[in-house]
Amino acid sequence: MSKYLIYPELVFTDRTLLLAALADLGYPEVEEGEFLPLFGYLGDQRSETAELVIRRRSIGAASNDIGFTKTAQGYVPIISEYDQRTLHGGRFLVELRSAYAEHVVDAVTQRLHGMARRTVDGNVIKITVRY
């Protein structure tokens, strides 16, 4: 049994952008509700609940549900130790942050009616928005 880890310092403020980022990572099916129960890979209900849940059937047979609990600051991920270690080669949260960041840039560009220019500078992505 893998324990769940909660990352309070990792907050996704905007629900729509978070759902878009999850879809980018290959998880378009996200259950939404209040205090949704989380289940482990054996089908066992865990004590944690969340407002956004990716069910383990969408992740993998050995995986547990992944949740995002709503706080005053935004959505905080709840992910099992196992999935944190194995999902996307252990980079699930990092890739989710990057995908979310790209959607933030898109949202800012749209709101400002700006034009974005994207370049890759070494290992980083630079997006310049003029408006």
């Binding site: 600051q73 890739e95 942050r97 960041a101 949202a107 800012v108 980083v124 997006i127 310049t128 408006y131």
Partner: protein, 66 residues
């Protein structure tokens, strides 16, 4: 022309934002929008450009019927 440069580091998922071309606290509006979507930043710095004051000069227009 105002410009925002976003830098995303795929190795960490970190996002940095740099606003240029807006003198004075007008860039606070952009910062506010970013905070709305990203939450409170880990670090926030005001550049020299931020501290510039926008000079407003009174303009005198000739009267149309003058």
């Amino acid at each position: 022309m105002p410009e925002i440069t976003f830098t995303i580091d795929p190795a960490t998922g970190n996002l940095e934002m740099h606003v240029t071309g807006i003198a004075g606290p007008a860039c606070e509006d952009i910062a506010k929008l970013a905070k709305e979507l990203l939450g409170a930043p880990e670090r926030e710095e005001q550049t020299a450009e931020y501290r510039l004051r926008v000079a407003v000069r009174p303009s005198v227009r000739p009267k149309a019927n003058a």
